[in-house]
Amino acid sequence: MYNLIGAGLIVIGGGIGLGQIGGKAMESIARQPEAAGKIQTAMIIIGALLEGLAFGALILGK
């Protein structure tokens, strides 16, 4: 039971984090459209790291 709550909390945190990454990336692409490629790559890498954390919590908390 508690492991499920913990996993849920981590997934909520991951969701907030992904939203922040996506939103900030959008903002910075709008400010500097010529750097869009670099920003996208960095965004995907950080998103993937965060996603790994959330999935780890899901697998371990199941």
């Binding site: 993937a48 996603e51 790994g52 999935f55 780890g56």
Partner: protein
């Protein structure tokens, strides 16, 4: 251009070598996958209630010994084709086709091969103890008088990996051969060349560095195309779920881990084991944290990311297809079928993107870790 041709020749050789290595090692590990919480099927494989749908999906997510398309409930006929079973029993090697089990998955059908009695329970092949004629189960539904055997069967996942290896050999063989005729590739090579250049220029060079990236191109290209082809195979109606098998992704992640550990530069080891510029007392805990990070956490996050993404994708697609059964009562057959088809199509299109994205991320993070290991620092 000349530089690029030389590179392709190197890539070609290492791709061939790695494909052989991969298929060999992943074949050996594929039998170790799966959990044991899986239930029996109903007699005609009829899927109606939510419980049966859950069973059906969890069965699909696992590896199996045959390709099963559908069953006719009225006649009880199964439409499928078998795959070879290769097992190492207490009496030695036994091989036969999986059709001899007659789609039984609960230990009812017992196949006798030269004195060895074999049966299939929850997609795992068990050998009966001497003198036993029937499988006995305890209250937790574990077999009492049967034990697991070493299973080297060409299962669905192994078949998928062999198919991906064959496709890569044919495609990249054609690409490499077309460079002998001229600078511009022909046929399938025209599709593959931009992807190879993409992996080189967008993934390997920025992360590993201009000087050292070439040594790792073979591995990165192989991993990229292996994962991508298998992810796309998972979207076909054949029902592959190879990159959703944790043994396969673990094997790929262990490859990455071994490569970056063994290609680490002097500076990498110095910074990992005895971090300069830090108080002496802090250096030992830091070394432990760094080592655990490189040996355990980085490969673990790599393998879990790919496994969980692909499993979740298959789960969502199959659940949306199952909507046509669960929503039939509420909306009627036509509306529920239409709804589930539209939603499943939508998610499948997203899955095509995810298939590429996961291959890209695995390759990207692999090259990032390799780049961390081979980097040489300036001494101040």
């Amino acid at each position: 251009m000349l530089l690029f041709r030389k590179e392709i020749m190197i890539a070609k050789q290492s791709i061939k070598f790695l494909v052989v290595l991969f298929t060999l090692t992943t074949t050996l590990t594929a039998f170790a996958n799966g959990g044991d919480h899986e239930n029996q099927h109903t007699k005609g494989n009829q899927v109606d209630s939510p419980d049966e749908i859950r069973e059906y999906i969890s069965h699909h997510l696992k590896d199996s010994h045959d390709f099963h398309f559908y069953s006719d409930n009225a006649t009880g006929r199964h439409f499928s084709f078998p795959l070879p079973v290769i097992v190492w029993t207490s009496e030695g090697l036994r091989t036969f086709m999986s059709s001899e089990f007659h789609h039984d998955d609960a230990g009812h059908v017992i196949v006798e091969k030269d004195g060895v009695k074999l049966t299939k329970i929850h997609s795992k092949i068990h050998e009966l103890e001497a003198g036993a004629h029937q499988v006995k189960f305890d209250e937790y539904h574990h077999a009492v008088n049967a034990h697991r055997v070493l299973d080297f069967s060409i299962t669905k996942s192994v078949f998928g990996m062999l198919l991906a290896g064959l496709l890569m050999l044919l495609g990249f063989g054609a690409l490499a051969r077309s460079y002998k005729k001229g600078h511009v590739p022909t046929g399938i090579g025209r599709f593959l060349e931009p992807l190879v250049i993409y992996v080189r220029d967008e993934i390997a060079k920025p992360n590993i560095g201009e000087k050292k990236y070439r040594k790792f191109m073979g591995f990165l290209l192989t991993v990229f195309f292996f994962i991508w082809i298998l992810n796309l195979l998972g979207l076909t109606p054949l029902g592959f779920n190879v990159t959703g098998q944790i043994a396969v992704t673990a094997c790929l992640a262990i490859f990455t881990m071994l490569i970056y550990m063994f290609s680490g530069s002097k500076d990498f080891w110095a910074h990992t084991l005895w971090m300069p510029g830090v108080p002496y007392l802090l250096r030992i805990p830091l070394a432990i944290i760094e080592l655990v990070g490189f040996v355990l956490i980085k490969p673990f996050s790599l393998l879990v990311r790919l496994f969980a993404n692909m499993t979740a994708g298959h789960f969502v697609v199959m659940s949306l297809i199952a909507l046509m059964i669960t929503m039939k009562e509420a909306f009627g057959p036509v509306t529920s079928t239409g709804m589930s088809l539209v939603l499943a199509l939508f998610i499948s299109v997203i899955e095509i993107l995810v298939a590429f994205l996961q291959a890209f991320i695995f390759t990207m993070l692999s090259s990032l870790f390799i780049g961390m290991a081979v980097e040489e620092h300036d001494h101040h």
